[in-house]
Amino acid sequence: MKIFKRMAAGAVLALGLAGASGAEPLKVGFIYVGPVGDLGWSYQHDLGRQAIEAHFGDQVETSYVESVPEGSDAERVLTQMARSGTKLIFTTSFGYMDPTLNVAAKFPDVKFEHATGYKRADNVSTYSGRFYEGRTVLGHIAGHMTKTNTIGYIASYPIPEVVRGINSAYLAAKAVNPDVKFKIVWAFTWFDPGKEADAANALIEQGADVIMQHTDSPAAMTIAEGKGIYAFGQASDMMQFGPNARLSSIIDNWDPYYISRVQAVLDGTWVSTDTWDGIGAGMTGIGEFNKNIPDAVKASAAKLKDDLASGAVHSFTGPINKQDGSPWLAAGEIADDGTLLGMDFYVEGIEGELPK
């Protein structure tokens, strides 16, 4: 009996609270490709989700599903979310592109936000960070710090975003160190710490003394710390995994964008947009420089970062040839976003063939 009374009291209280806030909270959903505890890509998106909760309080109700495989599973999860009354859904991986579009077509009054993709609809926006700007800064540091002139690069899937990152890092490294070579290993996974560690070991075995990665876990960082070489944090800072190894990092900061999009839905001003922000808008952050980096390099990297932010420097400024030697950008020419978004070629100087 006592329990019933308590439950009744609780229900009244809950009703009262809901009544006080005026309307039903806006339901915001997220799907992540890895676990929220990957301390990388998915972790940063989840920080964005938490920022929404902190900012809007009772006005919103957020939920997420983690480790959702790209493909038909994603479609099932998204349908489930849309059916359960979620009005704004963030799909945070490239491979969710077609599932997002398919589900969006079935739920015209649900808004979708797809990260890193290029297909839009009336109720599907896309957004991404210009991470390549960050990789320009990291490549600059890597070019200075390598002693073997060999930089190891753990890549995930041969999609434009990853290829762009490799190219921008290579161009920046080459600019400060003409002898630099990139050794690239495609892991064909976003998250598999064991495999990422093996890839790092393979690259170190081939003489790499700086590791860059475009996979999501801090495994390579741990290996680099153990072997006494250098690496960079990816998506998240990763400082704790390699206090000596971690030179700097690219930090994805989704908070401002997520908050602005939720605000737009609450205000009824949401329209389908395409956002691609870089260092300047704060979506791409550069982690603190490690004490192991010489002061001169710290200064030049900081200047490069500021110039990228202000637009004075662009990561892809000609003359740049494609890998096969054919010209891409003439001297002084700046790459257009269309080419960057569909980038499917290496720039001249990178060895090896891009997997198809």
């Binding site: 676990p35 990957d38 301390l39 480790s67 998250f191 710490p193 093996d198 801090p218 495994a219 090896g352």
Partner: protein, 310 residues
Amino acid sequence: MDFSALSPVALIASLMVASTPILLAAIGELVVEKSGVLNLGVEGMMITGAIFGFAISVETGSPWLGLVAAMVGGAGMALIFGILTQVFLSNQVATGLALTLFGLGFSALVGQSYTGIKPPPFPRLDIPALTEIPYIGKILLNHDYMVYISLGLVLAVWYFLRFTRKGLILRSIGENHTAAHALGYKVIRVRLLAIMFGGACAGLGGAYLSLIRVPQWTEGMTAGAGWIALALVVFASWKPGRLIIGAYLFGGVTILQLNLQAVGVNIPVAYLSMAPYVITILVLVIISSDRKKISLNAPASLGRVFHASN
């Protein structure tokens, strides 16, 4: 193409490291399946072992205690499965899948405060003079102890199943639990012990990942290794010797393609990545193409519910 840049010593060393977790988990699952039980929760038990081993190693500073904790954690998870399927007769496939989901969530919960911590280093075998022998010494005698323990374990399981009376009882229960029961063997007790052994091995495999191969704790870090272990048992057609070949083949494919890429050889990575699964499907096709072969290999009572009154 410059294959000379590949050092066989380093290749074999990383191959061993990559293969040991799946070998450990698979040898445990092999015993479980030989007793007639299909436990699909290997992934869940591995990840539980990974965090238990990691946490206890960090807290006590002893990697060995960590391994013991991993075995206890894995066996504990397996016991849940065992009680549900053997005592309460729940469906083995569904319970095993649930165990995987539970293990992934549970380990994430336990592991929250262990991210970014470094575990104590694990000792390596280093016999003065012998390890110094060029090539052979480095290839055979300079790994961490767990590599040798895993191989010893496979040998022990092979001996146990093939030459001991208890091994014969376990196999007979896996082939025909009703007949074994009629002969007076304790079907449920033997199966529970086998399930716990399987869990302990899976836990050990998970701890190998978090303490030696990576070494760090990240949520979901097994990333499907448990499923590969399950495939491996089928690939090996329930024979411990083939399990070693299979594990080193599966691990070797990954290591070789990563290293070939690092050297700069153009290889079809996507195809090589799926090779272990394709090979497993092929083996399944081959062993099921011939009725005799099936009856020789898969335990006849595999996955079937046993109830004493039947």
